[in-house]
């Protein structure tokens, strides 16, 4: 079966995100003062093949834990859909 995983990786909430801070400043200059916080992460899309949904889930978990996210500084979430 073919699956698509849509993965979001975000910096951990306790860590300063200088990129988000800089963008927030830009938004203020744009006149959008209502924006309270900006955090910038990554979005990764994987197309993969697996025997079933659970196997696909495990593969994506492994990809996230071992390479795509560094759990010391980032957390991840993903959605898996049959392609």
């Amino acid at each position: 079966m073919k699956f698509t995983a849509e993965i979001d990786i975000m910096p951990r909430p306790e860590l300063l995100d200088p990129q988000g801070k800089a963008v927030m400043l830009g938004l203020e200059h744009l006149g959008l003062n209502q924006v309270a916080d900006v955090r910038i992460g990554k979005h990764i899309r994987l197309n993969l093949e697996a025997e079933n949904e659970q196997a696909a889930q495990e593969k994506v978990e492994q990809a996230c834990k071992k390479l795509l996210a560094n759990l010391i500084m980032e957390s991840y979430t993903f959605e898996l859909t049959p392609a």
Binding site: L15, L67, N70, I72
Partner: protein, 230 residues
């Protein structure tokens, strides 16, 4: 002591380190290609600075899975010496050989300039010939060098005397403006618990040649020779 320097696609400080190590050790230094599986019986492995794999995803994240890293990890786990400079430090944290992580500099900018660092212990091989309480001028060149570890990990690092260097001013004093990249507690370099794996963001190999007008980094490489068993 036989030194080996790993060359990843995107390494750019490998020649500098090789030159310095050949000069201080008076022996040829092995060039270890990232696709090889052979450490050529080196005792001391250096992961040099640069932008391995374009620093894609996170600095050091992809290099950590290079074929030769299996051997480097095995070597370190057996107590063999490994040292990472700049990108090498990032690779070692990604590989789990050193605690913590290196985040984007607080100021968002790539910083390339001379800074001062002071050794926090002389009980680590690279700092053995250095003086505590003295500032050494060594350049940095990184965008992601903000050392971070969670509170428990940081406490462990400090309790076990694993902090190798802190950023400071020319009088070896630490002030808010001497912490160039926002590292936690101004940490510029650390070791692992076993005291055989070292990582530092500053580039001592760029301060080890009389022609460059700064020799402060040379002492770090000379310190490494103290481990020579024969």
């Amino acid at each position: 002591m036989k030194f080996g320097v790993v060359i990843f696609p995107g390494s750019n400080c490998d020649q500098d380190v090789i030159q310095v190590l050949e000069r201080v050790s008076n022996k040829p230094v092995a060039r270890l290609w990232h696709k090889d599986h052979d450490l050529q019986s080196c005792d001391f492995i250096v992961l040099p600075g640069g932008f391995s794999y374009g620093d894609y995803l996170r600095s050091g994240a992809i290099a950590r899975f290079s074929p030769i890293m299996q051997e480097v990890i095995g070597h370190a786990n057996k107590g063999g010496y490994v040292m990472g400079i700049c990108n090498g430090f990032q690779i070692l944290t990604e590989a789990g050989l050193l605690p913590g992580a290196l985040l984007r500099n607080t100021e968002q900018k790539f910083i390339c300039r001379n800074v001062h660092i002071r050794p926090e212990t002389t009980d680590l091989l690279p700092t053995r010939r250095l003086e505590k309480g003295k500032a050494y001028q060594v350049p940095i060149a990184h965008g992601e060098g903000r050392f971070y570890a969670d509170a428990d990990t940081l406490q462990r690092i400090k309790d076990q005397d694993q902090v190798m260097f802190r950023y400071c001013n020319s009088h070896a004093a630490i002030a808010p403006d001497t912490n160039c990249n926002g590292s936690i507690e101004s940490i510029a370099g650390i070791s692992n618990e076993g005291r055989n794996v070292f990582g530092m963001m500053p580039h001592p190999e760029r301060a080890a040649d009389p022609d460059l007008g700064n020799m402060d980094g040379l002492l770090i490489f000379e310190s490494l020779l103290e481990a020579v068993p024969a």
